[in-house]
Structures are given as C-alpha cells and as structure tokens.
C-alpha cells in the first residue's frame, strides 16, 4: 500500500514536472524555478546501480559519484555480495563496478568503475552546511522507474534533525554507529538507498540510507548519512564509536541495588541502599524510582545498568528520582569499587 502511494505520488510528480516543462516551453517568462539548478547538479552526479538480488528479484540501488576517477559511494547491502554490479552513469553509459571497501558501522560501500567521471560531489567540509528547516532535494533510483539515460527521480523536503541513530532493520538491530540527518521527504523506498540529498546549491548534504525503523518512534525513518561521515569513510577513517565503557580499574559505584524481580525491562526502583555508600550519604532511599542519571533518562533496570557501567570514581553525577509525587535531585560522587 505504502509503495503504491509512493508510486502515485511519483506519478503525480512526474506529471507535474512534465506540465511544468511544457509550460516553460510555451512561456519563456516562467523559468525553471528555484530548485532546477540544484536538481540538475545532483542528477549529473548520481548513478543507477543494478546487480545481485534482493530476495528473489534483481537488485537495484543508487550511488553518488565522489571523485573524477570513477569512485562511487552507495549503501552497503546484500546486493553487493554476489554477481556483477552494473553502474549506469547519468549519460546512460553502463559500466561494471568493483567493491573497493565497506563500512559496517556506516553501512556504506565504495565502488569503482573504469571510467572517468568529471562531475562529482565534493565532500570537503563546508562553512554553510545545511541547517534544520533548509530545503533539501533527494535524488534517487527509487522503484527503478528511471530507465537507461532517464534522469533520476527527485523529492523535495526540509532537513528535520541531525540525530544519533538507534534503529531496527526488519527484526534485527541496524548496525549503524553514527549520526543521521532526518529529512521530511519520503525516501524510505526500494532502490533509493545510496541516492543524493543536496541543498539548494546542489551541494551534497548526505547520502540516502536504507529502509529502517527507528526504535524511539517505531516508524520508518527517512534519513541520510551525513556528508562528514561520508568524507571520513572516503578518507579511510572509521567514525568514532560509542563512548567506551569506563575501564574496571576506575569504575565508580553508587551503592544502589535495584529491585531484582521483573528483569531488565522493569522500572528502576531502588531495592536497597548500601550503608555508608555515596547513595546512602546523599539520602537516597529504597522504593525511590530512578528517573535519570547524569542527564540520561533511565526507563528501566537495563538503562540503569548501562549508564552505571560508564560512571567513573570521583566524578560527580546527578541522579533524579521520583519519591511518591515528588521529583528529587541528588548529587553523588561514585566511590571506587
């Protein structure tokens, strides 16, 4: 259903584009409009990729050209795993591509074709990077409706938010470790992954990601891998991973024991406060519900355990607890274990 709507929207869009170009031909006063230069710039630097299989059907995706030497970035995925990869350049010419490098943490792959690609996206950092609310245009091979030399499809929207990703793909955790740019154009569609998200200047903002579901909302996310992450990958740098847990030697302890029944998914009620521990000195009591530690929300026992592992002895942290209808704040300095 979702797909068919997307198709419908796409058709409407194509219709609108056709009408618009007809009008332009008829009336010289109505010039291409504010988005046309950026669209053209993006379409000239974005490629169609075919090959492998997705399930039982032939695989297809999108890629962005990132150097004049035929280097192309796309999303890492099962279609890159087997068979021949074919890349169709914006001029319609077809080339065989090799996978050069992949990143599991960004779910990005670098391809190479034996052809010069004089038009490419420059990934060097920009001063005036796109901000929340800025127009973005998403160019992709979604639904592989663009055939041969036909230009790729364009969706318009705004940049919604840059955020840390915590998502699922199907039933599994999505192994992405970095920031993403959420956009309000719908790009969560087959074949769109690897497409270009550009600003009104045609500058690359990011690369369209896969069809995934965010855990905080349980909705499909329309997102792009940010340009800076792509530049790091291209330069051979892996993005910095999660904050590393504090080493056992310096780990601090608050002296809290949580209610053990109900497992890691139950609310983080304090069962016992170790006498003369930092928690006891601060005045925490049994039956207090831990709501946050060091600014991080504690939804359940599992959350508390994760945060507790990162506490360093001697570094003061703020704890918020709910005691009856009151929310109380405590400052504690973890003791060495």
């Amino acid at each position: 259903m979702r797909l068919s709507i997307a198709f419908l929207v796409l058709n409407l869009l194509l219709f609108a584009i056709c009408t618009a170009s007809l009008e332009a031909a008829e009336n010289e006063a109505s010039l291409p409009g504010p988005f046309a230069p950026a669209v053209a710039a993006a379409q000239n630097r974005t490629v169609k990729i075919y090959g492998g299989t997705i399930g039982r059907s032939p695989g297809y995706a999108t890629g962005i050209i990132v150097s004049d030497k035929g280097e192309i970035l796309t999303e890492q995925g099962s279609m890159l795993a087997s068979g021949t990869l074919r890349v169709v350049l914006p001029d319609g010419s077809e080339h065989t591509a090799q996978v050069v490098r992949r990143s599991q943490t960004l779910q990005v792959a670098l391809l190479k074709i034996d052809a010069a690609t004089p038009l490419f996206f420059d990934l060097t950092p920009r001063e005036d990077a796109a901000a929340e609310g800025d127009w973005i245009l998403a160019v992709s091979n979604c639904f592989k409706v663009a055939e041969g030399a036909e230009a790729l499809s364009v969706n318009m929207g705004v940049l919604s938010l840059r955020m840390r990703l915590d998502a699922r793909r199907g039933l599994q955790d999505f192994p992405y470790d970095g920031d993403v740019l959420l956009i309000d154009a719908i790009t969560s569609n087959p074949g769109a992954a690897g497409g270009a998200v550009v600003d009104l200047h045609g500058e690359l903002v990011g690369m369209i990601g896969k069809v995934i579901e965010g855990k905080s909302t349980n909705t499909r996310l329309n997102y792009a891998v940010p340009r800076d992450h792509l530049a790091d990958f291209l330069a051979g740098k892996e993005p910095t991973g999660n904050s590393v847990a504090t080493s056992p030697a310096t780990r601090g302890d608050l002296g809290l024991r949580l209610f053990p029944l109900g497992g890691r998914k139950s609310p983080a009620y304090i069962d016992r406060v170790v006498p003369s521990s930092p928690a006891a000195v601060a005045g925490l009591k049994a039956d207090d519900l831990i709501v946050s530690v060091a600014g991080q929300v504690i939804k359940d026992v599992g959350d508390y355990e994760r945060v507790a592992e990162t506490l360093a002895a001697g570094t003061e942290v703020t704890l918020e607890v709910k005691r009856r209808a009151e929310l109380l704040m405590f400052k504690l300095t973890p003791a060495a274990k």
Binding site: F35, A131, V158, S160, S216, T217
Partner: protein, 404 residues
Amino acid sequence: MLGRLLHRVSLLSVALLALGLPGFAVAQDVSPSLEPIDPQAELQGTLLAPRAFRAAAEAIKPQMVRIETFGGLTAQAAGAGGFRPGEGPTTGVIVSADGLILTSTFNFLKKPPIITVVLPSGDRKVAQMRGKDETRKLCLLKIETTESLPVPQWVPRDELRVGQWAIALGVGFGEKEAALSAGIISAVHRMGDKAVQTDANLSPANYGGPLIDIEGRLIGICVPLSPGGNEAAAGAEWYDSGIGFAVPLPPEHKIFTALKEGKTLERGFLGVQTKQLEKHAPGAEVLKIVPKSGAETAKLAEKDIIVAVDGTPALDPTHLTSLMQRYVAGDELELEVRRGEETLKLKATLGKVPPPEAKPKPKPEVKKVEDPAKKPEDQPPKDNRPAEDQPAEEEEAPAEKPAE
C-alpha cells in the same frame, strides 16, 4: 500545477516577508489567472522560507516539553490491534502559565503509572493526567510550578487558509532538539470539524506536539485521527503519508474547560439506525431506535426523517454520522425531524456508546453507510488498517453509526 502553487507561495513570501507583514499565506485570495513570476523574487522567496521556518520554530520551542513515561504495558500489549508505540519520549505543549500541558492520548498507549515532563529549562517535573477527549485524541497534563510558564498564541481558526505554511515539531526521536517538518494546510475543517489537515509529516515523533504557522503561532496539537477507527492509536498508520491532523483547542474552547475539570470525553451515541431516502432526497429516515438511548428519550420514532442537527442540514445517513462526530457523550443537540406532514424539533442528549455485547444484531441490508473513510478528497491510507477495521466496526454498530 505544483509548480504554480510553489510560484505563488514563494512570491507571496517574498512580498510579505520583505514588508515584514505577518502570515504571508493568510487570506490571500489570488486570482486564478497566472501572473508572470519574477524569477529573482521567486528564488529569493524560496531561499527565505527556511529562515522563516526556523524563526517560527524558535517562537514555539519555549512552550514545548518532552514527555517521558515509566512503567505500564509493554509495547506489544499497548499496540494490540493497532500501532505499536515506540520507546522514545513524546511531545507536549504548555498551554497555561500555571502548568497545564496539552498533548495527545496516543502518547499514553502504555497506560503508564508515572509521567514526567521535561521543561525547556531542563527541569523535570512529575505530571498528573487531568481530563482527556478520546474523540480528539487529546489530553491535559498538569505539573506543579511556582514560576509562570510561557504560553503560545493560538491562530484564530477563521484565519486559517488552505495552502498556507504549516510546520510540525516534536521531540519523539529522543534528541533534545525537536525535528522539524514543513508543509502546508491541506484542509481547515476535517473529522467533524475537530481537526485541521496538513501535509507536513506527522508521526509519533510529533504527536502531542505543535503544528504552527509561519509566525510560530499554534494551529493545533498533532494527533493521529482516522475517520473509521476509534481506538487510541487509530490514524497512526497514516504517519508521514502526506495526510496528518492537528486539533485546535484554545483555552476558551468548552472542551478545554471540560478537560481542565478532569472529564473524560467519549464519542456520543444518539441511538438511531437510519437509511437513505429514495431518490437521494436530503435527510435520513429512522429505521430503528436503540432502547434506552438518547433517541428514545427524545421521543424520536421510526420512520421519522432527520433533516437537520442543530440547524445544519443532514444530507444522508453518512453525513448524519459525520455531523454526530462533532459531539461527545453528554452533549445536548436539537434534531429537526419530519414526521408525516409536520416538522418537529426534538432535543436529545447523547449517551455513551454501549459496550459491544449490549449491541443488538446488525441488519446488513440497511448498511447504507459506506463510511466517511472513503471521502474522495482524502488520500488513501498508507496501509489498509482503517479499511480493514471498517467493516468489523460497522457490523457491530447497532445503527449506521449513530454514535460518533
């Protein structure tokens, strides 16, 4: 078509932003003939729009709160038969200086025993649930505060125009910053006049959050709504699909007062089963009266023809159903009824929808009402859920949905 719209919107934005006038899309009756567009002005207008979006967002952010819940049902149990809630926080809007917060009932599918609210200052407060309106998917929370909180400015409903900018904000993705989605108002009166429709992306990321105009004034609170479904999550399956709803509920609204008093408002139930008149004549003929219902108390009789509700003509059974959506249980309304040659005015008080087991067997042959779900102007839903739910809902309904 799309091009023309953009042209016009952006041209207006240039003209009005340049003049510093508020609300560039408000009440502008543009003549249908296409004026030549100055490409420079168009480009400039387009470039300025994102700045206006950000400025509008800044204006409402001091009134936006992050809602966190603790405990309650699991996501599976909470989402049974509908949309499964995510793990993240949700959004609310401060609507009174003394700590009333308007948000969506969608955010409490898990029936959490503990609700906390994080103010823009970073202060976290325990919130108590006041009243809720299940027909609007809205509820009021109350926090204790000694300081006077900032309140938003509501856009008067009659100022809203289809095509004007609308911006949706929410913190449901879990970050401190709100995610921003921009679009336009698609319809000013929807769902029995309860809601405004927008094509900005609405989803659990901003349900309970504000839909604002280009000046940062509050248009409504984003909620999931569905013409057919009535369960708490109905409508959420349409997230990010180009069809979303926001409910305006300024403090002077009587529903707001009811919520403040802690009332729970439900769908109203008149208790009639009606059928289409012959030759599609206007009105709805009463086939059956549900015992002990508001219709019975009002002395409505079989074969009566309901021609108007509170002065609004009822065109057919479907339209009658849609008119009834404007009311909640406990409301009194005046029915204009044709009985034989005479026209009567009957006062009826709506009851609550009876529990399913108390409902009489359906009469399939009189199922005239397909349902407002299939209004042609509405886009088809993202997946079939409302459509699937529809028949079941209707088979149970004693009448052609006199409730609502």
